[in-house]
Symmetry: D2
Subunit: 373 residues, 4 copies
């Protein structure tokens, strides 16, 4: 069904399960001749890795990628890039008790319903371990986007009730985001978030939050007008990530309370830009009619609290009998910090896909003069 692939021209396919020998990621459609090394993948993989701090799970996954094809002598060769990750910390005995009982909030039951089977050793194909592939593919997309002047940046904008005020993406630096383990660029807010997560963790519970994902430097014209609107593909990309329960762009759900006279961003001349136009304000989150406007693309996602909590929970089993489950293993009390590289990756993959789609239809110069890649 191709449910394991994403993107039309920059196409990512993943395979593998949490308790098998490893994962495979195939990236199809990357332009040839782009410098690419294993080291380009490592920073984002490190940001995704478990065990970075007490805020995250203490599982010790080895996220060492091996590039098996598509790169030669330090450059992409235009053929499909395959990346292999071996699993090496498969404590399946931690999962023994879940083999017969359905974990609340997890896909255990729905896998049984669809397939008549699920992996009794853990999440199997539904495990968030799969995102290691997406983050690697996203690192390639990010690198390619850099060549056309586009930068993707994400940060944690809330944890539970602790909210970071809206920031201008243009002013957020990777350094500020990475300066603390929660990945919120405002140090005072970050401290409160960390404190809250710590409280929750000690309470044997978990907590949700929101993250902002932005893309700077996207020129006007990326996206398609009807079903493959840029906003639609971004929404799908984000909701395809585990634990994401909501998506908005620009003013998002706040738009529902606004009037048109307030929400419409007036166009203004911007002689400093090659294309000469901009808007006052960015309620439209950088997309109009599903196509990029030249303003910063801003999206926000909601992430639910980790479903795996150390407390005993009521549930039923495969035998349809009620029971109680205690999910063992090591789990993140809050998914947000490790989500940032995943969200960035999916945003980068969507943008790279639409860059290639733009280039296919409109050429490298674009229909307007002044836009040049």
């Amino acid at each position: 069904m191709a449910g394991n692939s994403f993107g039309k021209l920059f196409r990512v396919t993943t395979a593998g399960v949490s308790h098998g020998p490893g994962y495979v990621c195939v990236v199809d459609g990357c332009p040839p001749g782009m410098p690419l090394e294993i080291s380009d993948l490592l920073p984002d993989l490190a940001r995704r890795r478990p065990g970075q701090s007490k805020l995250t799970t203490q599982r010790n996954e080895s996220d060492a990628p091996e590039i098996w094809s598509g790169v030669h002598n330090g450059k992409t060769d235009g053929t499909s890039i395959s990346i292999v990750f071996r699993n090496n910390d498969q404590r399946s005995h931690d999962y023994d008790n879940i083999s017969k009982l359905y974990r609340p909030g997890h896909a255990d039951y729905t896998f049984d319903a669809r397939y008549g089977h699920r992996d009794p050793r853990g999440g199997g194909r539904s495990s968030a371990r799969e995102t290691v592939c997406r983050v690697a593919a996203g690192a390639i997309a990010k690198k390619a986007l850099t060549e056309v002047g586009v930068r993707v940046i994400g940060w944690v904008s809330s944890v539970g009730e602790v909210e970071c005020p809206a920031l201008e993406a243009e002013k957020v630096t990777l350094e500020a985001v990475e300066a603390n383990p929660i990945r919120c660029p405002e140090p005072a807010i970050a401290a409160k978030m960390i404190e809250l997560i710590d409280t929750v963790r000690l309470d044997m519970d978990s907590i949700g939050g929101t993250a902002t994902m932005a893309a700077l430097g996207v020129p006007p014209g990326w996206g398609e007008p009807v079903f493959d609107k840029l906003k639609a593909d971004l929404a799908k990309a984000m909701l395809s990530l585990p634990a994401v329960t909501g998506f908005e762009y620009g003013s998002g759900f706040r738009a529902a309370r606004m009037r048109g006279s307030e929400h419409n961003d007036p166009f203004v001349p911007r002689p400093d830009r090659p294309w000469g136009i901009g808007t006052e304000g960015n309620h439209h989150g950088g997309m109009l009619g599903g196509i990029s406007s030249g303003e910063t693309i801003v999206t926000r996602v909601a992430i639910k609290p980790t479903s795996s909590i150390p407390r005993a929970q009521k549930t039923v089993g495969q035998d349809l009998q009620p029971g109680e489950i205690q999910v063992k293993g090591r789990h993140d009390p809050c998914l947000l910090p490790r989500f940032i590289p995943m969200g960035e990756a999916m945003m980068a993959i969507v943008l790279m896909d639409h860059f290639l789609r733009f280039r296919a239809q409109c050429g490298t110069k674009g229909p307007h003069n002044g836009i040049s890649f």
Copy 2:
């Protein structure tokens, strides 16, 4: 680029522009032998039609569908269904002033950026008139879903600050939704919404809102585990509609403030269901791991205020010079009431697509006994 098609197995393709001779909708993959008449399409088309009340635009579009293929002697014949709509109220003179100035909030500028061209007579391919095709396709999907016991229902859950409290989808009837022009099933709230829209309209402004879309009777097992999660496809479907700025399912953005112990819905035996299982509560909105759980699927979308407002607005033109635009024509002061059939249509299309995907992989009986279509 296939940006004009949606769905993998139940596949909808649309074509046409607002000021051309008409629109075409092609529905590919519908099972053969299903009773289908023009009259099955009319109710939802009537709900989408402009001019239903003073809440909506007074444009008089003829939404009379012609079925050109795929239906014979009152039944689908299994080949592609093509539906044609002729445009007959093309007051392009209403749009004269927009041919050189970019309307704020519209795709005028982004079309120029992508294509070096836009339709000076109106929205062209970006016009919401295109949704007439989606609503017709959605009516077919709804009819097919009925055969497997699934019902899709939507309603307006807020207009501006006027919010309808959360309703149990199981108790919302089409009659209650259709009992008032705003399509909110709570009469007292509906009255306030209508009053607010009236105020906004007289103020030459527009206002946003939110809508809830629910699907009842979806058995467990629809959806795919990785990129084509049911929640991801629903998010894309909704964000592909004009003016939608946000999507959430289940607890959605509220999940960001919740703890795992509160958010996890415990499984409970449900001997009254063929599959024997249910959950207490539905924070998960009927989807776990991207696959339906057997609980009602609940999603909510945010819709921005209509971009076309009768007031003069600041903007720039194709010549990059500042100017002022007065958008003439007849526009909805609030998009919400006409959105309901559109949102239902997209939800039905996604569900029908995933039903066929389930059936392809797992057969009609499904992997479990007890589930039968």
Copy 3:
């Protein structure tokens, strides 16, 4: 199932049936700004039209295309191009006797097997009338290819036992092909073919043949290395046409009898070409490893004799009882002359698709200097 669409980036969708109100063709992905008028579609539609000569069916179809969208002021606007054809010669009474008996060689029975239904008025969705859409889409692809220096040309290379010797595609002109009703550029051979078809027609029979389809000016580098080899997409394109029973490129089936030392085309310097390389001989038909080599692309297809013949034929009916059928109506004694524009169209669609795929991945300049679009 998307079985009604072809192409990934230059994507053609068709809808409609032989005895319904009309056909619709949607062309997605065409670059914007390309001059296009109805008149660009007419020559190839005229070549496909029935009733051109006594060699073809005397049915009088109106093949007058209406462009409903995607073209504005004589140029493509980058959005999907929709073309509508109305059917006006629906002599369904000619088909009365086929409503219960299966025509040999036709899809009557297989449609019943798949869909439990077929159109009793004629071929329905299986009718070759559908190719009117493909020819229109092909005319657009041809026009676009002209802009990058590519020309597609086809001709009849055999009818029954009458074979035209292999011709150099570079020397075949459209004028020579169109100089006689059989579309074989060698007048003496053409005369023999026409004589043979006449004999067959008077004998109330039909006859098969082969056609050569060539593309000149395709630069090296179009095509993908694995599943979407250019040769593979061309094979699918040709076999998707009605009555095509075989496909070969370059030396084709003759290669099966050759030795490597004879078949391998040695590379030679070609300083007259921007890319500097060519081959001696063209056994490889312009494609190596599924990618264009810069030599002329040469393919050949086999076409079976028309299944509809005026003689009585043995068959069975829906009741599984044996019977005899006399297919009435007006049918081509030989499909070859009308096939030429269809084959050219499909070749052009494949090439345009792969041009866009090349441009998406490699940009307009290509990885080599010297190749410029």
Copy 4:
């Protein structure tokens, strides 16, 4: 571009290069609960393996597959199946002389033209080593097809001028095919083929041939009527294999010389079949209108002589200067015997894909009673 994937519902993705660490194959869409073991893959992999006899290359590839996901406790679990092959015989020094000169008949030059780069160690992504993945995926498809009563069988029907007379596929056994190294089920013909290949090999040359691929037990109704005709998908599948230069089904190119009265296969009652119908003769190769008819599906492909021959050949280099190349390494004097499992694999993949498409649209019972899976 997704050029590394094949199939819509039963979808195969391959990755890897000849001189990298290994290959990866991902099979998406396989029904859950099907028994599958490594041992199911081995027989066909052994048939594809180099070094089986003096007729094939003496390269010693290890084709030991590892299943990394999608199979649990001996059964498919419904999620994507990933299979990994490690390369272990990478004699890249054999290829030293090809790093600057283009091998005639190979993709060396066309890769340079497309990507500005090719793998100097060998075929890279264009290497036929990639077919190890297809054969593994095909073994899975074959196993699944067996469950619905379908069997795929292929054999060598000619080598050079040595032709095997047409055989009835129903009478060809795997044992007879495997009884000799050339895989022609007629022992006397096989002996002549082997003799010819031996002569050619000693002459430092190579030779082409043809292979027949048949599918028995396919019920009527598989395939789609327009672009995704079963014959079209089979043609693409076959032409996507290396060295295939032609495809035909049923009467194929012979149809070009036939008359309709001779070519049309009359329908006859077949009370011994669940669907009650058959044809006299099988010129239509089991497909009418692109949909299976219930008769045996018969296709034939042409395969060119191996491009790698031990003789010195004229060519040019990357510097556009003429030169002479001696292709070292160990190569098959005739590709035919190793082609059989590859051709069978692609045929099985196409059929499995169309089985799932049929089941998606028409359910497991099909529109007719009497057909049951």
